[in-house]
């Protein structure tokens, strides 16, 4: 037993020596593996980083929130929206007072407008919301105050600016107390919001103005319906129950029977997260396939070079056989050579992959998460490819006829 292990080791060393005798070629062969494995690691790191950052922006949307949109959901789940909303602020009031699992409700009406402050003007979206809005979105004011329930009741001409708007209209700061004109209606600024950053789609969430929804509906858009309702459940566990409650309240108010299609639909934060996670997974799969193909190409490269090597070393194989090498000795030698090339290539690829991930993170500012799984996977695949693509050339070598091989020029 000890002898055979030792012999195996000796023959494996023969394979190693062949690699070191052909350094340049071995290196070029490895390159395919290096790039393939490096690719897998970078791609997975970028994918993981992107999905982590998307999850964190979804969390930044608010807590336990449910969005209620106007429009029907068909049996197939597609959203139908004719353009005529039938959600009213009263629906929101009803949900807030009747649904026990709902903590906060805010209507939202949205309008785009050119906003003027003195000499400066800025095009942005103006959102009419209720006083629960900052609680649902977990979005505090940095300066001044949010508008009050009294402001909402009175349809007061007050506004809270997003950080981006405040910066552009009031480059010197001190926005609070100033007057801006939205579609020629003067609004008094009562507060400036904290910076929130980009959302999932990369839009700047701070490029907005918040005002009481009553004001927007009466004085700017003249609409009586709202664009959506933001609802916050009492806790994460209450989201499901809150959705059921909202559904039955709205059906009752809109006179829709239990079996009929609703004229509204809901999306919970969880559902949004799940949907974007599944999109991310699709993207990751795609990237992984690209990486897998490059690994495959690397493997074929190894097979190619090993075949050339077997042909080139036919005579060497003949000599080895003549002096007593069995087929399996030759097989092991070449297989070991192929596996070593792919494993060493894989190792370099791992290092290169980690290095370039770090580089991408530093240079492009992308969030990067290098995962241990991807390293283990890429490395395992590299070793497997070594065996798989090394086997055919090695077997070819092992099956050579020693007489023919010795005669080979």
């Amino acid at each position: 037993m000890k002898n055979s292990v030792q012999r195996l080791g000796n023959i494996a060393i023969v394979g190693l020596k062949a690699i070191s005798r052909n350094k340049l070629r071995s290196f070029l062969t490895m390159l395919g593996m290096v790039i393939g494995v490096g690719c897998v690691i970078v791609v997975v790191a970028i994918g993981n980083g992107a999905s982590a950052s998307i999850q964190s922006t979804i969390n930044s949307l608010g807590t336990n929130f449910i969005m209620v949109f106007p429009g029907a959901t068909t049996a197939s789940g597609a959203r139908l929206f004719t353009g005529n909303s039938n959600l009213t602020p009263d629906d929101g009031e009803a949900i807030k007072s009747e649904a026990p699992d709902v903590a906060y409700v805010s209507p939202q009406v949205r309008t785009a407008a050119q906003v003027i402050a003195g000499e400066l003007n800025w095009g942005t979206s103006v959102n009419g919301v209720g006083t629960d809005y900052p609680l649902i979105r977990v979005w505090n004011v940095a300066q001044g105050d949010f508008f009050t329930d009294a402001d909402v009741k009175a349809a007061a001409k007050v506004a809270v600016l997003g950080a981006t708007v405040a910066e552009n209209l009031f480059p010197n700061g001190n926005a609070v107390g100033q007057i801006i004109r939205i579609k020629n209606v003067p609004f008094k600024i009562v507060g400036v919001l904290e910076r929130k950053g980009g959302n999932m789609m990369g839009q700047d969430q701070d490029d907005t103005i918040l005002a009481p929804y009553t004001t927007i509906m009466k004085r700017l858009s003249g609409k009586t319906k709202i664009d959506m309702l933001y609802v916050s459940a009492r806790s994460a566990d209450a989201v499901q129950q809150a959705q059921t409650e909202i559904d039955s309240i709205l059906r009752q108010r809109h006179r829709i029977g239990p079996g009929q299609d609703a004229d509204f639909q809901m999306r919970s934060q969880e559902e949004i997260a799940a949907a974007s996670a599944s999109q991310m997974n699709t993207l990751k799969m795609l990237l992984l396939i690209v990486a897998a193909v490059s690994l495959l190409v690397g493997g074929i490269g190894i097979m190619n070079i090993m075949l050339v090597s077997v042909t080139e070393r036919t005579r060497e194989i003949g000599i080895r056989m003549a002096i007593g090498a069995k087929g399996r000795h030759v097989l092991i030698q070449f297989l070991f050579e192929a596996i070593t090339i792919s494993i060493v290539g894989g190792l370099i690829g791992v290092l290169l992959g980690i290095g370039s991930s770090k580089l991408v993170a530093a240079k492009a500012g992308w969030p990067i998460v290098v995962s241990v799984e991807s390293i283990v996977l890429a490395f395992g695949v590299a070793a497997f490819i070594g065996v798989f693509f090394g086997f055919y050339p090695a077997r070819k070598a092992a099956r050579l006829d020693p007489i023919e091989a010795l005669r080979y020029e």
Binding site: I319, R320, G324
Partner: protein, 252 residues
């Protein structure tokens, strides 16, 4: 002498070339005793190499039996023949057949890698060194084939053939690629080895080379056509028979 080292009975080898059958060996009977030095001669295409391949267990006879060192090897499979080649046979080829970019000592150690006995690195090294000393190449262990002359390369090859202490040395035109002076030296080594009871079988078509043997087997059309014993041997082409080791040293 107990049993012969090589015992061949009614040996034939037929190559099938499509429709045509080529009878390379047509019924060979041959006994070679331990310690003999046999030269196999014959014109091109007479079947010398075919016989050599079978003697060397590289190939199997079509019919007939071949007993090597008392064991019937005519029916062995590939792996079994590899084992026999490793343990019982030392090959010396016309074109040396050393591994390039591999030092002399590593070339000589090669057969020990594949043997049934596990050799430690130190044992392999030791055996290879001794074999190199035997062919007069002490001090050249680290040289690569490209750094050695033809004669020296052939000596490395002989050392490699000797390292497992085989029952027979088989040499196919070992001096075919060497000038006459170097050929004499190489033949001197074979004679020296034969003097210490090594059985040597040599293929050649040069009478000058064959003269170094004790026995010449003439092959023609796949048959042994003449088998002569030479009384007076060990006479070099110029009537000198220098000791092997001395030759080795002055050429190095």
């Amino acid at each position: 002498m107990s049993q012969p080292v090589i015992e061949i009975k009614d040996l034939t080898k037929v190559y099938q070339m499509g429709e045509v059958e080529v009878r390379a060996l047509a019924g060979i009977n041959l006994l070679i005793d331990r310690g003999e030095f046999v030269a196999v001669m014959g014109p091109s295409g007479s079947g010398k190499s075919t016989l050599m391949n079978i003697l060397g267990c590289l190939d199997r006879p079509t019919t007939g039996t071949y007993r090597l060192d008392g064991v019937d090897v005519s029916e062995l499979n590939r792996d079994q023949r590899a084992v026999v080649r490793n343990a019982k046979i030392g090959f010396v080829f016309q074109s040396f057949n050393l591994l390039a970019r591999t030092s002399a000592i590593e070339n000589v150690e090669l057969p020990l890698l594949y043997g049934e006995t596990g050799w430690t690195r130190a044992q392999r090294d030791d055996a290879a060194r001794k074999a190199l000393v035997l062919v007069g190449l002490a001090g050249r262990e680290g040289h690569y084939p490209s750094q050695l002359s033809g004669g020296q390369q052939q000596r490395v090859a002989i050392a490699r053939a000797l390292v497992t202490d085989p029952a027979i040395l088989l040499a196919d035109e070992p001096t075919g690629n060497l000038d006459s002076h170097t050929s004499e030296e190489i033949m001197g080594i074979f004679q020296e080895l034969n003097d210490s009871q090594k059985t040597v079988v040599l293929i050649t078509h040069e009478p000058d080379i064959a003269r170094h043997a004790k026995r010449i087997v003439h092959v023609r059309d796949g048959l042994i056509h003449q088998d002569e014993r030479i009384r007076q041997h060990r006479v070099g082409a110029r009537g000198i028979a220098p000791p092997v080791i001395a030759v080795a040293q002055d050429r190095s």
